[in-house]
């Protein structure tokens, strides 16, 4: 019991838990769309870009967090814009923008060694550093995301499935894609304190990929990914506290454990299903005979049901023959191409 209650004797833990759970839910939900758009490394790219902003903030002596927000938003917009240009694939855009901004940050840091920047916290996260202001920011971002996600969920899903068709059907697909990139940048910024720059991609991608192994439609997929994100954050923070390791790696390792556990279960179920199917097809004649008898009984039921419905089906088929549409029972043959034309459907009049 102490394992659960002891961490709460420290003030920072409750704050970290709240922030971690909200970040986990946010990253899990957004991660679904990141993974399905095949942009798994955008989280990594955005977080790497943070260094440029943090170094710039240190140069002009403002809050590094503001620099991080600025850099991530700029990186998000640049990735969005560059990735839509002819000849530049989205993954290449992520690589170009993130490494450029990272290099910019490194250049600034190396040119100004007298300015101290705590890169360890930035890279690996620090739950001790979570403040009440951080929690407020995380919760506000989460509420905005939840509201926008609630209102535009259908538009977002259609855009991810087929953006060209979504645009043709009246959905503002380009605006949705841009808003999604901005939302992702905001989530990356609020996640840095908890998981650090280097591991943000993992908390975005792993819960969504785990959920993808289980869920068959978008709604459950988002719900499961969010729940897994929260669970990984909670378990990871407890592990981080008791084992005394950085919070970011602990959260990512918890998430990865869940992924491999689910993967092993789904692969095993798949293998068992294949084995059962093989066994069914390699049964002896007696067993096959029993199986055929049972199939005959089933066929009889289906036939009797079919007799009841065939009349209406026949009527519907007949009615679908359109004016000018000439259907014929004559079967066209390859040797008679004119017959093929004669018997082919004639549309319209």
């Amino acid at each position: 019991m102490d394992l659960i209650t002891e961490p709460f004797t420290y003030d920072f833990f409750a704050k970290a838990l709240i922030a971690g759970a909200v970040v986990g839910a946010l990253c899990g939900a957004l991660g679904v769309f990141v993974v399905l758009r095949r942009m798994s490394y955008i989280g990594q790219g955005l977080s790497q870009s943070v260094l440029g902003g943090v170094a710039l903030a240190a140069m002009v002596s403002i809050d590094p967090y503001l620099g991080a927000i600025f850099a991530t938003l700029v990186a998000g917009l640049l990735i969005h814009y560059v990735g839509r240009q002819h000849g530049v694939r989205p993954d290449a855009a992520i690589g170009i923008v993130s490494t450029t901004m990272f290099a910019f940050g490194v250049a600034l840091v190396s040119a100004n060694r007298n300015k101290a920047i705590n890169l360890t916290d930035l890279l690996f996260g620090n739950i001790l550093g979570v403040t009440a202001a951080d929690i407020t920011l995380v919760v506000v971002v989460a509420m905005v995301m939840a509201a926008v996600g609630f209102l535009f969920f259908k538009q977002l899903v259609f855009t991810v499935v087929d953006s060209a068709a979504a645009a043709a059907h009246g959905v503002r697909a380009a605006t949705i894609e841009l808003a999604f990139t901005v939302a992702l940048a905001a989530v990356v910024v609020v996640s840095i304190r908890i998981v650090g720059v280097l591991l943000i991609a993992a908390v975005i991608v792993i819960p969504a990929s785990t959920a993808r192994l289980i869920a068959k439609s978008f709604g459950p997929l988002v719900a499961i990914a969010s729940a897994l994100g929260v669970a990984a954050a909670v378990v990871g923070l407890f592990v981080s506290f008791h084992v005394e390791i950085a919070s970011g790696p602990a959260i990512v390792l918890s998430s990865a454990f869940a992924f491999f556990a689910v993967l092993i279960v789904t692969v095993t179920i798949g293998a068992l299903t294949v084995r059962r199917t093989r066994q069914r097809h390699h049964r002896g004649p007696a067993s096959r005979h029993r199986s055929e008898q049972s199939n005959q009984c089933l066929s009889e039921v289906v036939r009797s049901f079919g007799r009841a419905t065939s009349l209406s089906l026949h009527k519907r088929t007949t009615n679908t023959t359109m004016s000018g549409a000439q259907t014929s029972n004559a079967v066209p043959t390859a040797a008679d191409p004119v017959a093929q034309v004669r018997n082919g459907p004639q549309l319209g009049s």
């Binding site: 068709a165 043709a168 059907h169 978008f218 359109m322 034309v341 004669r342 082919g344």
Partner: protein, 265 residues
Amino acid sequence: MAEPVVALRGVTAGYRGVPAIENVDLIIEPGELVGLVGPSGSGKSTLLRCLTGTADVYAGQVTLNGRQVRRGHPTHDIGFVPQLTSIETDLPLRAEDAVLHGLTANSRLVPWYSKSERRQAHELLERLGLSGYARTPIGHLSGGQQQRLLLARAMISGTGLVILDEPTSGVDLQTLQDILRLLAELHEQGTTILLTTHDLNWVAAGLPRIMCINRRVMADGPPADVLHPDVLEATYGAKVRIVHDGDRILVTDDRPLDHPTHLLS
């Protein structure tokens, strides 16, 4: 006189400054069924994308029901069926939900679809012979079933205009006939249909009006006028023979009919 559903007047359009079609005129009146034919790269899909607002229009005017179409400003006037090969099927998406996407632009701003919207989707799935597949992931459906699903998605929005990009490519004969019957049914109900096709015999020859394009309009009219050896040679750069049997037309290669049919003979 009623406003044309589709009007392209002197349209030059393409992508990134490179025109794919030049000076194209196309007027489609309400209830018409029109096919676009032409070789690969002739600008058929670009013409369709002018209507969906996803191509750059450099000159001329594109209007849908009298309203000008502008890039990036989608209209709600189109049911669009993309090429089957452009669809990502490895997605967690059930057939029923895929059809409901067609209602997204006009649906309430909540994450779910209403009961009446779901009923509409089920009715369409039943009409298209997919009633047993409502909860089947789209990746588990055959090519023909996916094509019918995309058609259902276009139909559910209830717009007066359905445009289809290669609706019969990659489908088997049975599905091809099913799709043609469905289109004929839609046409009878007064829906305006514009489709592209490579299939001159099964599809184009059976349409009431076809337009031959190869960057520009080569011919426009009923198949009897457009499917002419000179027009097709100018469009495709291939010599063909046209066989007439009553009011039916067959486009074949220019070898005599009694010539052996081996490909390499």
